[in-house]
Point group: C2
């Protein structure tokens, strides 16, 4: 039974995130990227030069936090932040050649980690995990929680 932080959903997810974060960080280490950085590069490629705002929304993260997280990647020449030609306020994140290359390399490591995850956790459970996490990250859930109301599916 352990003195688990109570069945606190928040504590539980943070703990699991810390744990998994380390495993993925280790797996990606050869690429020089941390798990979070891999995600950033991936999203930049996927969204094709998104503005920081768009990226932050996509990742459900604070804009300033995102900006800071990109700094190390910029410094290391993997990401370039360029002004948006149509909106003087916006800036877009793009992958440099080195960034694309690093991402490509990291993708392989990531895939391997993902595979090991499925194997160790079980396909069924993994499916279940992603499913609940997706619900958690949804706007619907947040609103339902804030309203103290039930999730209307």
């Amino acid at each position: 039974m352990a003195t688990n932080p109570g069945p606190c959903n928040n504590a539980a997810i943070r703990q699991a995130a810390r744990m998994l974060g380390q495993l993925y960080d280790d797996a990606l280490a050869p690429s020089g990227l941390r798990g979070t950085q891999y995600t950033l590069l991936y999203v930049i490629q996927e969204m094709n030069a998104p503005t920081l705002r768009e990226m932050a929304d996509q990742l459900v993260m604070d804009l300033s936090a995102l900006g800071r997280s990109l700094k190390p990647l910029e410094r290391d020449g993997l990401v370039a932040i360029v002004a948006d030609p149509n909106d003087g306020r916006a800036k877009r994140a793009t992958l440099t050649k080195a960034g694309s290359k690093t991402l490509k390399r990291a993708l392989e490591l990531w895939r391997d980690a993902q595979d090991r995850f499925e194997k160790a956790f079980g396909t069924k459970r993994a499916e279940e995990l992603r499913s609940v996490l997706e619900s958690l990250s949804s706007r619907e859930f947040r609103e339902a929680f804030q309203n103290g109301a039930a999730l209307r599916k």
Copy 2:
């Protein structure tokens, strides 16, 4: 379908943790505690003056990270770190009177948040969530992942 950070388990759990963290932080705000701090106080009470090492193990977190997280609580007089009488190396975390009081107050806020969570997320789903998170945090899973093997259990 959105450009979800790929079905990356790591990215997904971090995202969900960020989201939920904010909701719990908001809920606990009246007590002056962040979600993580609430957890620390709770664990200290639950484990009854644990050494930092014991706490760190329980929370599956880095010892130095724990030590630093306790600093603000110490500074604010909610937690006191005392030397272990039997082991010159160890230190134990204890709640001060103010700490207990704050925790008690926070507990109510937490319970409310937890309730809203169940209601918004659904009891069944909540159950599912805690179940997968617990598996994730287990030593067995970590080892299985690292060995690239399947979880024998």
